[in-house]
């Protein structure tokens, strides 16, 4: 309706009308451009220089040498595979574990709120701290809980970080992010209409069929949001790799590779080149996936 009224106005009026909001937004816009784009431009500049912190006398313009290095050393593709693989597995496992706990917590029982708080805790612990906890208290061969149980069962201790680095990282990330998935799915479960569930039980649909044909379709949007947000957070996972596996066994993610180039290699130019390549890849992937895979935001508006 209001659109029709606006159409009646001349374009000059419209420009004037929009002038004030534009001026009001300007400071915030300039600030956010300065905050996000200036460092990015600096990174692009750094990526074109040969600059090793330990050899300041050799600092010079390098053209595209750093980009050639990025694509020729063959570290980039394994890092992308590691990042995508670890993220995908961790998102799926934490989603399944989260769904399990969400369904359990959706029932009324004594101490429900205490149980919910306890289950959320892993998500609230600092990532570095939880990596350390898992390294020493859980996975350690001498004092770790997991190996203690394994040995009590009569098997010999497992060197998790050495033998199963990939699985170790996934286990830790699942422990950390399952509560987050659970929170989103739980809100979905609680928004289910009781009448529909009652009707299903009157029709004797049974627990499994109710879950598969009523609850899961209802949860679809929530699952999509959980996957999207979980992927964004898990792509940046760095601490378990830095603290437990040190990039061995196919766990050298893009984030860890970049860290190594910058703070072990002290090579600002190469690190910046990796950074720029990562940003470009992220923009491409995000654009495609947001448009095609996740219609949830658009459909959410139309409802």
């Amino acid at each position: 309706m209001s659109a029709g009224v606006k159409k009646a106005k001349s374009t000059g009026d419209l420009a004037k009308e929009r002038n004030l909001p534009r001026k009001l937004i300007a400071p915030a816009l300039i600030f956010s451009i300065a905050l996000t784009q200036v460092p990015f431009l600096a990174t692009i500049y750094f990526s074109l220089t040969e600059w090793n912190l330990l050899k300041p006398q050799d600092k010079k313009f390098a053209g595209i040498d750093n980009y050639l290095y990025v694509f020729q050393t063959g570290d980039l593709l394994p890092a992308i595979i590691a990042t995508v693989g670890l993220t995908a597995f961790s998102v799926i496992t934490s989603l399944l574990v989260g769904l399990f706990f969400a369904v359990l917590l959706d029932r009324k029982f004594l101490g429900q709120s205490v149980a919910r708080t306890l289950i959320i805790t892993p998500f609230l612990i600092m990532p570095a701290a939880s990596a350390l906890i898992w390294k020493f208290s859980m996975f350690d061969t001498n004092i770790g809980v997991i190996n203690f149980v394994i040995q009590k069962l009569g098997f010999s201790a497992i060197g998790w970080s050495t033998q199963y680095p990939y699985i170790s990282v996934i286990i830790l990330l699942t422990w950390q992010f399952a509560p987050f998935m659970m929170l989103i799915l739980l809100s979905g479960l609680q928004s289910q209409s009781r009448e529909v569930l009652e009707a299903a039980s009157v029709d004797r649909a049974g627990i499994w069929r109710t879950f598969a044909f009523i609850t899961l379709p209802h949860l679809r949007q929530y699952i999509e949001i959980a996957i999207l947000l979980g992927t964004i957070m898990l792509l940046q996972a760095f601490d378990p790799v830095a603290i437990m596996t040190k990039g061995t066994g196919g766990t050298k993610t893009l984030a860890y590779l970049l860290y190594e180039r910058a703070f072990v290699g002290m090579n600002v130019g190469q690190a910046a080149a990796y950074g720029v390549v990562t940003v470009v890849l992220t923009i491409v992937v995000a654009t495609v996936s947001l448009r095609s895979l996740f219609k949830v935001f658009i459909s959410g508006v139309s409802k």
């Binding site: 460092p39 330990l54 050899k55 300041p56 001498n142 497992i158 040190k246 061995t248 002290m266």
Partner: protein, 440 residues
Amino acid sequence: MNNKVKALIAVVVVAIAGVVVVQQRSGGDVTLTLATVNNGQMKDMESLKGEFEAANPGIKVNFQVMEEGDLRSAVTSDVANKAGQYDIVTIGAYEVPQWGANGWLTDLTPDLADKAYDVGDILPPVKDALSVNGKQYAVPFYGESSILMYNKEILDAKGVKLSNNPTWNEVAAAAKKVNSAKTAGICLRGKPGWGDLFAPLTTVVQTFGGTWYDMNWDAKVNSPEFTQAVTFYKDLLAAAGEKDPVSYSFNECLTALKTGKVAMWYDASVAASMLEADDSPVKGKMGYAHAPVVKTKEAGWLWSWNLAVPANTQNKEAAVKFIKWATSKDYHQLVGKKLGWSLVPPGARTSTYSIPEYKEAAAAYAPITLEVMSAVNPKQPGVNPQPWVGIQYVAIPEFQDVGNQVAQLVADAIAGRTTVKEALDKGQVIAQAAGDAHKK
């Protein structure tokens, strides 16, 4: 982000500089800023700085204590960019010759010539590692080598005896003999990193006759000797080592040895003082031997934490005065009397080992530390000559990167995901790229 941090640092530096300038003008005082690592001995130095300030009115010393990794990046960027934030820096034996050759550090040779300081008392291998072309760029605060430590109770129970100069074959045989489900035979660092896995592994490579680079800076990482040494290390870990080597470095092995989970350990000599500490369950049960060898006479490494004065400091005279005080014989007496004799910084001065009170307090490990530290040769630790000074590292800026990447490859080989040959063939390419930058 980068620029913001830089701006912030700039503001802080200007503020500090302003404070220093104001102080200097008001009372003619000098405030020295010292960057150091958060080890026990350094904190002892901080607690005793009042003695220095009392003896030298007009000089104040401000300590900035950091984690090793933070210290390395903070000091490196400050000194390399000539920012001049620090008057005194604590740096490792790896950095000193490189930074000295770059002209980043003050040449201390003339200042150390006086008789009271007695520069000849500094352990010769340590002094060698801190000098370039006869110029000494730093003074050692404390030093260490690597030794074999073993739990005598566990070895005796199996009837195993070790000599004072064991070979790696003897040690491997002993480790396999005492290895059991509850107690691993030997603990060796496996955590990927140039300062973790490759500190002990490089000494093993050298005593097997291998090296990182030959005299022409050609990489020798996939040479037969290097391969043989890494294979030996891997096989020993598999047969009698700790279960999760990627997680294990100095602190993890120390805990395992203290709690009786391993029988032997090859690592830094400074660990002995922790194994013999009053709260250690294995105090008095330990035996110590030289680093195991194959083709060389000695295989111990050499490390020291040192004090140096950046070349562009405004307070050179006062800074030199302080580092001479902190590394003097008098300072060792002061630590002994004020804090306890077992806390005297080890491995820097020969005379430390003739102080009667120290000999008594550190009877279990002082003799072997002195013996090993005087015997190692940082100029040529291996079988063949090498174009750098240093034992468990290559003194070029690229080495922390090269060592780190090759360590990850070797860790994959230790876990059995690749073969040693594949890992070292890849490592050879990485090492050669760094070596090419040093060819003349």
